[in-house]
Every structure is written in C-alpha cells, then in structure tokens.
C-alpha cells in the first residue's frame, strides 16, 4: 500500500524560483484534495545563498513539518550536499542533467525540455508526475496564476507538458504515487500571514501601518494587495514608532487598526502599546517571532518573544494575547483580537512566528456570510451627557464616540486624565482611573479561549505547548500513544490571560508534564507557574531557528523517559 503522504524539498539559491515551484506544487496538491503543510527556510539576502521550500502533502490532515524527505528537488548543487542527508532511504533526488550529483539522482535535461527560465516549472512537472498529480491540475494552477498573461501561461503549460512526457518516458523507477485523496469541501491555500490579514479584513480592519520586517511583512502586503477591493488604508511608515502611532491615531478617529512586525520592530512600538492602553484606543498588534536578541536570525523561527509581549508596555493595563496554532487559528484569533480590542478599548496581540507566518496550508473556505464583522459606526442615538470619553463605569468600558462624527467633542490623553479626557494631576482621579482600566480584565477573563486537550483522559504524559508547536506536539503524541506510551497534548492558543481552573486538573493528574516550546527558557511554563501555581520541570525546547517537528519531540520525550528510568 502506498505511503499516504509525501515530503518534497525544493532547494536552491534565492532568485532561482524555488518558491514558484513549491507554491505551484502545493496549490496543485490542495486542488487535488490533499492536505499540505509548508516550511520555508530562507536567508537574509536577496540573491544567492541556500533556501528551501519543504512541502508535506498527505491524504490525512497534517499540521507539522517532517524531518525526512521523499523527493529532493535540487535547483543547485549546494542543495544536494546540504539537504541530501534529509533524504529518506529510497527517496529520490532530482537535479539538472549536468549537476555533480550522486549516481542515484534522477537527472533531468531541463535544457532540452524548455527555455532556461522555465526550468523550475519543468521541475514541478517532473515531481507532479512522480507523485501522481494529474498534469491538468498543475496546468490549472498556472493558467489561473497567469490568466492576464496568456503567453506566460502557454510557456508554463508547455514546460509542464514536456516535463510530464519526459518523466513518463524516463522516471518509471522513481514513481511514488500518493493514494487518491478523499473528496473535501472547497479549500484555499493560505499561509499564516495571509490568514491574519484576511481575518483582520473580515473583522472590519480598515487601517494598517507598518515598517517592513521579516517575518511579519506578509500581513501588510496582503492587505495592500486588496486595499482597493476592500476599502483599506495601508501605509508604510517611516519607522515602527510612526506605524504604531499612526494606528493609534487612525483608531482614535474610528478605523479598526492593526500593526504587524517582528520582535525588534515591536520593541520600538512598545510605548505605543502603552499609549493605546492609556487612551483606551483599540489596537491589534501582530508580532511574528524570529530568533533574537537584537537582529538575531532574521529569517528563522522561534517562540522567544512570549515574555516580551506579555510584559511590553510600561504601567499596568489589561491585554489579551493570542497564539494561533494553525492557519485557521490565524484567521479566527485575529478576528477575536479585533473584537476584544474594540469591546475593551485597548491593545490585543496575535503572536505568531516565522514558521507559521510562511507555512502554506489548505484551508476550508471561510463562511464569510456568517462571520460578523465589527459594526460600522453609527453615532449612537443616546449616550450619557455631558459626554465624557472616560466615564467611570462598572465594567471599566466607557461609551466611545468618534471625533468629527457627531456634535460631541472627544478628548483623549496619554497623561492621566479626568473623565472628560483632560490631563490631571489629581491623585484621587488617578486612583479611580487605574481601577476603571483594570476592571476591563473581568471582561477579558470571561472571554478566554481555553486550551485544547488532545489525547486520552488521564494520559500519564501531557505535553504542554502553545502557538505553532501544537501541530508537531499532537502528531508526536499520537505516534507515541500508538506505540504504547500514553501521551496527550494541552495546547494553548490564548496565552494571556489564563483561566487555571479550566486546565489545571489535567496537569495535576498527569504523571509527567512536559513543556514543549520553541525557545530556550521555557517561557510559557514560567507563566504557568506564575498564573496557575503549577511547576513544570521537564522541557523539550528548540532554539536553533528551526520549527518543532513530530520526530524531534518524540525523540526528546523518549530520551526524557529513558533518563528517568536509568
């Protein structure tokens, strides 16, 4: 019986079109009904270097990268050397005819198949044939991509046809077809960044300011690409301070607003977070994590900014922090971040990382008709008068009017202020305002997304993880459970605030609780200790810039258990 999944790694220099090959194949697998999970590895340079696009496609649902490769598509010789070791026994390397390559490599005469600039498309065609993808599916993807450029579409189609024909004649020993996929509802292919942008737009976001920073730039670029269609304002700011302050200004004037950046850019925005909190201005902040401190590894992944985002901003104020585990989560939790920012009038956060931000997935089409956006503003028919922007209320939320959209004047201040928004040094007012702002915690706590528990009730091992490590942890747990070691997963997609009664019994009952995090210090387990009084002393961490994989977690857990026994 053929293996129900395939892992394809495309490697080459930046500028060789490896993402084109990868995306073409990924979309084709999605259209053919498979699930996909993409891991992009690239370097902080424009041309050259060594970049990879790993595509894992499966009949069943997947949400994690793999360690072993079935097809290695080497667009350059470096790839054969660098990624050859990842090829599983029986795997196939595919390289150009004239490449220095091991004997077992399938050598493709790209030069005779198509003009040189379409060699990458031909490579996709060869892989398509070997994995059993119908040629028409790949052709459909390129025709859609180039529907405005018929010549380009034709050239791509020809390259694919030549590649399929060549592979049919020469590739027989290397064919590893996937079993047929079961029919699925209509799906699209999105990565984390695109899903965040679409989630924001669906929630009613109208304004985004940004300063480009990997890995978050895809969020504003997606919004910019659709700004005209969706009626959005997207502005590249002169720096991150400008970006966050523009967003605060736009939000004050009524536009649901977001900023997106990485840890370093967020460091520059932090005063603006505090501003949003003090002025009670809704603001959604997307932070795409990458290895730090400072510039770190700009294009790799990590979960090292949790502590930073939890504590960012001087002073005390309520916040909610979401950490999507999947691309669907990116969409839905961004919506939730907008909803809470609007309802509780302050900053909320969406914390992703390079791996998830760039990871293409098959996503079932969102039911847009049934996703409620924030309501467009209508001046309320009545409100307490005289109007006071910071009226003290039982739940801490004051009636919000917008400047210029009614007769009332709206006054907001970063200084401590009176109910009518004017700066004050009255210490009694100060105390009342602190308490008013902090009362918003109650509402945020009532809206917590609880962690999901996967596995058998009472499993003796529980992996505690958050955000993008969820998929790898679940797959590792399932495999270990099948092999006789009961492992469950407690996966948090909201990392702040927490509701310990909702999950603590699971942890208390387990024999072993293991923190699984993409950082060195076990930041989330530190948070658990502080918030839930639960002490985790076993860790599986990763901080080499690469994402957690099921095999990595499984090996680490087996090692932990073995050490305990010995």
């Amino acid at each position: 019986m053929p293996k129900p999944e395939v892992v394809i790694l495309v490697g080459g220099e930046a500028g060789q079109g490896l993402v084109t090959v990868g995306t073409l194949l990924s979309k084709a697998f999605v259209r053919a009904g498979y699930d996909v999970c993409v891991t992009q590895g690239y370097q902080s340079r424009i041309r050259g270097g060594h970049n990879t696009y790993e595509l894992r496609a499966a009949v069943h649902d997947i949400a994690a990268p793999a360690d072993e490769v079935d097809f290695l598509v080497a667009l350059d010789e470096t790839t054969l050397a660098a990624d050859g070791p990842a090829l599983r026994a029986g795997g196939v390397a595919i390289a150009a005819e004239d490449a220095e390559a091991p004997a077992a490599t399938l050598r493709v005469p790209y030069k005779t198949l198509c003009p040189p600039r379409y060699a990458n498309v031909a490579a996709a065609g060869v892989v398509g044939f070997l994995t059993g993808l119908p040629q028409e599916t790949l052709v459909g993807v390129v025709e859609d991509a180039f529907h405005k450029k018929p010549d380009e579409a034709a050239a791509n189609r020809d390259a694919l046809a030549a590649a399929y024909a060549w592979a049919a004649a020469n590739g027989a020993p290397f064919v590893r077809p996937l079993p047929a996929a079961t029919p699925r509802p209509p799906r699209v292919m999105l990565n984390g960044n695109v899903a965040i942008a679409l989630g924001a737009a669906s929630a009613g976001a109208k304004f985004c300011a940004f300063y480009p920073m990997t890995p978050a730039t895809g969020v504003p670029l997606t919004l910019a690409a659709h700004a005209r269609t969706l009626g959005l304002v997207v502005e590249q700011a002169e720096d991150e301070m400008a970006a966050v302050n523009m967003a605060c200004g736009a939000s004050f004037a009524g536009a649901p607003s977001l900023v997106a950046t990485a840890g370093g850019g967020f460091a520059l925005m932090v005063e603006g977070v505090s501003l949003a909190a003090m002025t009670e201005t809704p603001l959604v902040v997307v932070v795409g994590q990458r290895p730090a401190p400072a510039t770190g590894l700009p294009t790799r992944t990590e979960q090292g900014d949790l502590d930073f985002v939890l504590h960012a901003g001087h002073g005390e104020f309520p916040r909610a922090v979401f950490a999507p585990g999947t691309v669907e989560d990116c969409f839905h939790l961004t919506r939730k971040a907008f909803e809470l920012a609007a309802r509780y009038q302050g900053p909320t956060f969406v914390l992703t990382d390079q791996w998830l931000a760039d990871s293409e997935r098959a996503v079932v089409l969102f039911d847009v008709d049934n996703l409620l956006p924030l309501a467009a503003y209508l001046p309320p028919a009545s409100y307490p008068t005289p109007y006071r922007r910071y009226e003290i209320t039982a739940d801490g939320v004051s009636p919000r009017l917008l400047p210029g959209l009614g007769d009332e004047l709206v006054v907001a201040d970063s200084d401590e202020h009176t109910e009518d928004g004017h700066l004050t040094e009255d210490l009694g007012v100060r105390k009342a305002m602190v308490e008013k702002r902090l009362r918003k915690w109650e509402g945020l706590r009532a809206a917590i997304v609880p962690p999901a528990y996967y596995g058998l009730d009472g499993a003796e091992n529980v992996l505690v993880c958050w955000g993008s490590t969820g998929g790898a942890a679940r797959e590792a747990a399932a495999a270990l459970t099948a092999a006789g070691t009961a492992v469950a997963v407690l996966h948090f997609t909201q990392v702040y605030p927490l509701d310990p009664p909702a999950f603590l019994p699971r942890l208390v009952k387990a024999l072993r609780v293991i923190g699984v995090e993409g950082n060195a210090g076990g930041q989330f387990t530190g948070l658990l200790r502080r918030e839930a009084g639960f002490h985790v002393d076993k860790f599986i961490t990763r901080y080499d810039g690469l994402p957690m994989t099921p095999a990595y977690i499984r090996a680490a857990l087996e090692r932990l258990i073995a050490e305990e026994v010995s």
Binding site: S202, A237, M246, A253, E271, V368, P373, V411
Partner: protein, 283 residues
C-alpha cells in the same frame, strides 16, 4: 465666522508671562475666522508645555506621546479626511524626538497644519538645550554650552517643498492669527514655526530679544520663489523674518488612497461579497 467664545476659556498649567498664552489666543482667533466649529477640528499634540495647549480650548483632542504627534495625526487624517487636523507641540517634540516624522509627513504632503511653539529650549524638563538652541547656549545639561549647530526647521521644510512654511511670533498675535488662518486655508502640509519666549528657562532669547529682531516680510518677498524662501530661512541674527516664507502646490497625500472620497473609514461596512472573492482567489 464662528464665535471665538465657542472655543472656550480654561485655566492653564503655564507660567505667568509664557508665550503660550498669546499663541493660544491666536489659534482660537484663526479657527473662528476660518469658520471652523470645535467638532470639525482635531488637535493632536505630543508632550511638553506647548503640547498642553489643545487642552485649553474646545475641540477634539488626541494628546499622545512625546515626539509622536505627527504620525498619530497622519493616521487620524487618513481615517477621517473630513477632520481639520492640527498638530500643536513644541520644538523638542516636533524637531527633536519627532524629527523623522516631520521629514516623512512633509514628503507625504499629509494635510496637517503643524504649529510648533519654538522657544529654543526644553521647558517642561526644566531647561535643557533643544534642537533649535543656539550653539553655545548654556544649561545645566550643557554647562559648556550646546555643541550642536541649531536645527533650521524652515530651511528643512522649504528644502522638502512643504506646501506652506511660515514663521510667527507670540508677540505679534494679529500676524500669527493671520498666518495660522492662511495655513488652514492652504491645501496640504503646513508648518508654522512660532517663536515664543520661555520666561523660566531661556534667559537669552527673551520676549525683548525676539521683539527687537522679528520683522514682517513685505510684499517684496515672493513666497513662491524657492531660492528666495531658502535665503530668508537662513536670515538670523539682528533681523529675523516672520510671515509666509514659502508656498507651493503638491498633490494631497490623502487623495492618493483608494478610499479617498469614501468618507470616514469608521462608517464603512465590510464588503462581504468582495471579501469572499478575495479569499476565493487563494484557491
């Protein structure tokens, strides 16, 4: 003309004799002459004694962070282009902490009217050199005198072709109110640098110092002449020009966005059909 009383009268946190009082008066007079109602105007300010000015009149106010008034104002203007957005802050806030934002806003030609109270010193932090302090200006922080060449806001704004560049003086309220009025009427970015005395911390550039030097540009100055304007911006010493130094026309930043003309962003619902099409395009 709106009744100037519509803009109110408030108790302030300023020192008696501060130039701010007269600037406030000029601002209210200009708003009234421009027939603006308090609800149509948004003041965005930063931090400093000048940045408190919007608290002392009736209007919408966003008093944000030190140095960051301009970007907050850009965001607000993009969100609701119908608002008249006035940035009011001091030389430390706009020219020091917020320098990069000033450059960018002029380059964009954001439709902001930027009023800078320029007293050549940091007042609220009790007397350190500001970007416009003269070289050699002695303070507790610069006991040997400021080492830096003073920042020339007008020359910078003219070099970047800001559509409206003027200088006023708190000691000439009639002229100042007229300059602010002209700034409000001129489309696009406007910078009005406003000399004022700091009664507490600038013992060099006093009210009398400015009074003696400031003169009004006459009809012989052509503000559309870039080189003449730049030359005037560098005139410093015994005689310092006030008035409109430079004027030009440039395409409005806000009009370049696809949402321009659609009204305030807050009132625009999500176009679900368009969103569904966009999402489906990722198949």
């Amino acid at each position: 003309m709106t009744d100037v009383m519509a803009f109110g009268t408030y108790e302030t946190a300023w020192c008696p004799g501060c130039g701010n009082f007269r600037i406030l008066e000029a601002v209210k007079r200009a708003l009234s002459a421009a027939d603006l109602r308090p609800r149509d105007v948004l003041f965005v300010s930063g931090i400093g004694q000048a940045a408190k000015a919007p608290h002392y009149l009736n209007a919408n106010v966003f008093n944000g962070l030190h140095g960051r008034a301009i970007p907050a104002a850009v965001g607000a203007k993009l969100a609701n282009p119908r608002l008249t957005v006035i940035v009011e802050s001091g030389d430390g806030c706009v020219y020091g902490e917020g320098g990069n934002h000033l450059l960018a806003a002029i380059r964009r030609n954001a439709d902001l009217k930027v009023l800078v109270h320029d007293n050549l010193v940091y007042g609220l932090t009790k007397g350190q050199a500001s970007p416009t302090s003269e070289e050699g200006f002695i303070t507790k922080a610069q006991p040997d005198g400021s080492y830096a060449e003073p920042f020339n806001p007008l020359a910078l704004a003219i070099a970047l072709k800001a559509p409206f560049v003027a200088r006023g003086f708190s000691g000439n309220v009639d002229q100042l109110a007229a300059l602010i009025g002209e700034a409000l009427a001129h489309p696009g970015f406007a910078l009005v640098d406003i000399f004022q005395n700091c009664i507490s911390f600038n013992k060099v550039q006093t009210f009398a110092w400015f009074k003696k030097r400031c003169y009004e540009l006459g009809a012989e100055h052509d503000p559309t002449d870039f080189n003449a304007a730049l030359a005037k911006a560098y005139e410093w010493g015994d005689r310092i020009p006030t008035g409109v130094l430079f004027k030009c026309e440039r395409p409005a930043f806000e009009s370049r966005f696809p949402t321009a003309g659609a009204g305030p962003l807050a009132t625009q619902a999500v176009d679900r059909a368009a969103l569904a099409r966009v999402i489906a395009s990722y198949a």
